[in-house]
Amino acid sequence: MNPLPLDGKARARMRMLGMIRKESLQILRDPSSIAIAFVLPVVLLFLFGYGVSLDARSIPLGVVIEQPDAASNSLAGAFERSEYFAPRGFSSIQQAQQALAERRIDGILWMRNDFSRRLLSGREAPIAVLVNGVDSNQAQATKGYIEGAWLAWLNHYAAAQGHPLPAPVALQQRVWFNAALNSRDFLVPGLVAIIMTLIGSMLTAMVVAREWDRGTMEAMMVTPLRIREMMVGKLIPYFVLGMGGMAFTVALAVWQFDVPLRGSPWALFASSALFMLVSLAVGLLISIVAKNQFVAGQVAIVVTFLPAFILSGFIFDIHSMPGPIQIITHVVPARYFVAILQSLFLAGDVWPVFWANMAAMSVLLLIFMALVRRKAHKRLE
């Protein structure tokens, strides 16, 4: 046979470009890739942007006033004016408790018939508050709002009586980065990490596993294609797809949901790129180990999607988790990316946070890549 008029490097480049072209064509023709990269972000963003909120509004609150008069009505009025409550009157505590049991209201404010008498006589007038504690997070918030409304009323009442309330220590609070404590502003940046995990790990794991299932891997193996070229050829198109999904999500977040982006786009790009590489390495590793779509899909959900959701600090605070679980979170790449994202979006370029987390992701990338190199070989066993 004639020697080919191409040198080794040119042939390697040709093989890699061929892989990239093939992989890109497959992405373009597979509606499910496009769906995961562009439709799923929209669905998730709308769900989280509009559907999910930890900020209570209009808490249905039962109010029982056993003896209505000026004092008790003024307290009830304070709750009616608050934007946090939708108070409903009940004539007896039994009725209100029934409503609480039937989940028609979330809490009860109960002034007994001696309320006004004790208030006027200066003896501590008790106001009983019952909250439904099932959703503890919500109950905490409800408690906080009730206390706020009560304090406001108390100050107002005492001032009207002519002897303002002694306040030994007053709290002056300042919340940085998200003064309104808007939960959307912290949930939406975290979604970028979720979506990139889906593209990088889950989609890649399933797509590579598909080659095993369909037997195309076997044919590809018996060509001059090197394992490294195959990996790089597969990574690049999915890298581009993932970065596209990221850019799309960020654009939606900023323009549709008005989430501030205070950091530099370069930092966002660099950290996303690094995270994408880590996710792709995990996806490749899963597909190499699983070798079939069904197992790859399941493993990807359990080891990438769920941890990105639960263990990354995206919703749940890592500090509050038990020690062993906190240790586990250190191998969840999304943990570092979420930290960077929340800073970049809300705080701006906080370089110590940025570099520390970038370093951690780089270490993970090296570990996963080394594992991929070790596990990947052109053998069927």
């Binding site: 209570a56 439904n132 309330l165 030994p168 359990v302 263990l311 906080v350 946070v353």
Partner: protein, 369 residues
């Protein structure tokens, strides 16, 4: 007729349990998720890192700091000495909260003037910030009352006496773990049933099944039964772990809980079979199940309250069977509910179940090829 159906159900069960991969799907992820969710998914704040910038040397200030340090919610991890140190602590996420006691803090207090305590919070995680603020307010409230008492001042004319029903300590694990019963049961049943027809289509066994005298309806019921059975076992397993391992109180009627479980499974199986009847390949079935699961979980009130959602989204949640079932599990576990209080949750699940099963049956007959 029941004989055929039993034969199909038995075959489905065997096919599922004899496949090592399916067994793993049934056992592995649920346990992993139960542990992860049970331990990691908590809204309770513990050991929030706090920095105290104390410019005051007085005893009153020290007393307040001692109270904060003694709270399980806060850990004092830094004591900056200059104003300029505050910003980097927060920016770099070293602390969530910085408390600043000015030079005149104790002096003001002693003279009966209002002393000010400045708190700076990291709002990047707004929920954590809000909870931390609530804890701080609680500590301050107690401090103020005690201080006023010691000074012989009158306390506030009216006081709140707050009690939480059902979950007295407001432990978020009590809220999350019963929710997992619903979540995992849904995931497992959905995956099992969604794959059941798609797998037969892909492996070619579906044709072999269709040329037998079995009617589509019989096949449908035969495929639904193992889903329900596995769902009941899965739910029972998680309920048992919730009670025995996580110490969640089970206060209500177990019968009422299981009525809920069965109706919920009916709807989950219906949706799963519907997805399965539409999908041609297993990959499509998995993707379909995933596309149903994510919104179903987010809109169910599993982690975030439905009441906080905009109205349009709240309407959507009425289509979500998990929404109703979560009320049932939490109602029975924590609130001690019986049948009568749960009736309003039962019938929507029954309707979703019947409608989705009918749709699955229709799709079955019209997508036989």
């Amino acid at each position: 007729m029941p004989w055929h159906i039993l034969a199909i159900a038995l075959k489905e069960l065997l096919a599922l349990l004899r496949d090592p991969r399916s067994r793993i799907v049934l056992i592995g992820p649920p346990i992993a998720q139960l542990l992860v969710f049970g331990y990691a998914a908590t809204f309770d704040l513990n050991h929030v890192p706090v920095a105290i910038f104390n410019e005051d040397g007085g005893g009153a200030g020290r007393e307040l700091i001692a109270r904060i340090a003694g709270s399980p919610h806060f850990d004092i991890v830094a004591r900056p000495l200059r104003d300029a140190e505050i910003a980097p602590l927060i920016d770099n996420k070293k602390v969530l909260l910085v408390l600043h006691l000015g030079q005149r803090f104790s002096a003001d207090l002693q003279r009966g003037k209002t002393a000010s305590l400045q708190a700076v919070l990291d709002g990047r995680n707004s929920n954590t910030a809000m909870l931390a603020l609530n804890y701080l307010r609680g500590i301050l409230l107690d401090f103020n009352r005690d201080w006023a008492m010691r000074q012989g001042q009158r306390g506030p004319p009216a006081v709140l006496r707050t009690r939480a029903w059902y979950n007295e300590d407001l432990n978020s694990r009590w809220f999350i773990v019963p929710g997992i019963v619903g979540l995992l049961t849904l995931v497992v049943t959905l995956v099992v049933t969604a794959l059941s027809v798609a797998r037969e289509r892909e492996q070619g066994t579906f044709d072999q099944l269709l040329v037998t005298p079995l009617r589509p309806l019989e096949i449908l019921i035969g495929k639904a039964l193992p889903g329900v059975l596995i769902g009941v076992l899965e739910a029972s397993f998680i309920i048992a772990l919730a009670v025995l391992w996580f110490d969640i109180p089970l206060r209500g009627s177990v019968g009422a809980l299981y009525v809920g479980v069965l109706l919920f499974l009916l709807s989950a199986v219906g949706v799963g079979l519907m997805i399965s009847a539409i999908s041609v390949t297993q990959q499509q079935a998995v993707l379909g199940a995933f596309l149903f699961l994510v919104p179903a979980v987010i809109l169910s009130g599993f982690a975030t309250p439905i009441a906080n959602m905009p109205e349009v989204v709240q309407w959507l949640t009425y289509l979500d069977p998990l929404r109703y079932f979560l009320v049932v599990v939490r109602g029975v576990f924590l609130e001690g509910d019986g049948y009568s209080l749960l009736w309003n949750q039962y019938w929507p699940m029954a309707i979703i179940g019947v409608v989705s099963l009918a749709a699955a049956g229709w799709l079955f007959r019209h997508r036989m090829y």
